[in-house]
Symmetry: C2
Subunit: 116 residues, 2 copies
DNA sequence: CTCACTGTACTAACACAATAATACATCAAA
DNA sequence: TTTGATGTATTATTGTGTTAGTACAGTGAG
């Protein structure tokens, strides 16, 4: 796993883990790997993992059982809603960015067609 | 002008300035504001401006006349090519991100329609 | 109970982005 | 020539992301 230097690692890691929840690698109600395991998996410091996970907890995507581990939230709707919110944010941001480049919606669609 | 803390300011500033070139606020061949002026405009340190501008110089979007100022590159084609490259990168990245959310191209188009 | 595993907390050290304050060299204009 | 503008370079300081190492408390299994 490679991290960019354009953003703090803990934020990048947080996004990666959120994706794992969204795409079902970590399923609703399931336990996620321990802080120490994640640190090994992604070759970062346990403290960095903890910071990343606290982001996910703020998003209500995971919850903590103090001496047992951290778990994906049980209600799948929460995950689904998060997914839709993310998709909308990404779409809006994409369209805005294209607009800033002077590319209107009609042309934007051409760019999308071109990239299968 | 507000900067996020998710990315170094000099990179954010560099993107803003690149946009000013792309959308024609700073036209081909034109002089851009001095390092000190830009620092005042965006309320950042002159050193930060310099770092941002060196990014633009690496992209060949601007060039320097040592004691006269910095100028947008004269050849408009360079700017146009940069714009297209950016748009392609953004589109590709957007489609990949949506795919990671489990949203295929057909559904992605619906999201775009929904966001006029 | 003992041991291994959890999350959590703390300190220390390092790297680097960012700010601040100067200083210098070059050119153009007054 | 003098003045002011330009880019550039240097040094010091601050804040914080990251790593490293250690320690503690609670839980469950053997």
């Amino acid at each position: 796993m490679k991290f960019s230097n354009e953003m703090p690692i803990y934020l990048q890691l947080s996004k990666v883990l959120a994706l794992n929840i969204v795409n079902g690698k970590y399923k609703a109600g399931e336990k996620i790997p321990s802080v120490r395991d994640l640190a090994n998996i992604y070759k970062v410091n346990p403290n960095t993992v903890q910071k990343a996970l606290s982001e996910l907890e703020n998003l209500n995507l995971i919850y903590t059982e103090r001496t047992n581990g951290k778990f994906v939230v049980k209600d799948y709707k929460v995950i689904k809603n998060y997914t839709i919110r993310l998709a909308n944010e990404m779409t809006l941001s994409y369209l805005e960015n294209m607009k800033e480049l002077g590319i209107e919606k009609k042309e934007t669609l051409k760019f999308i067609e071109r990239n299968e």
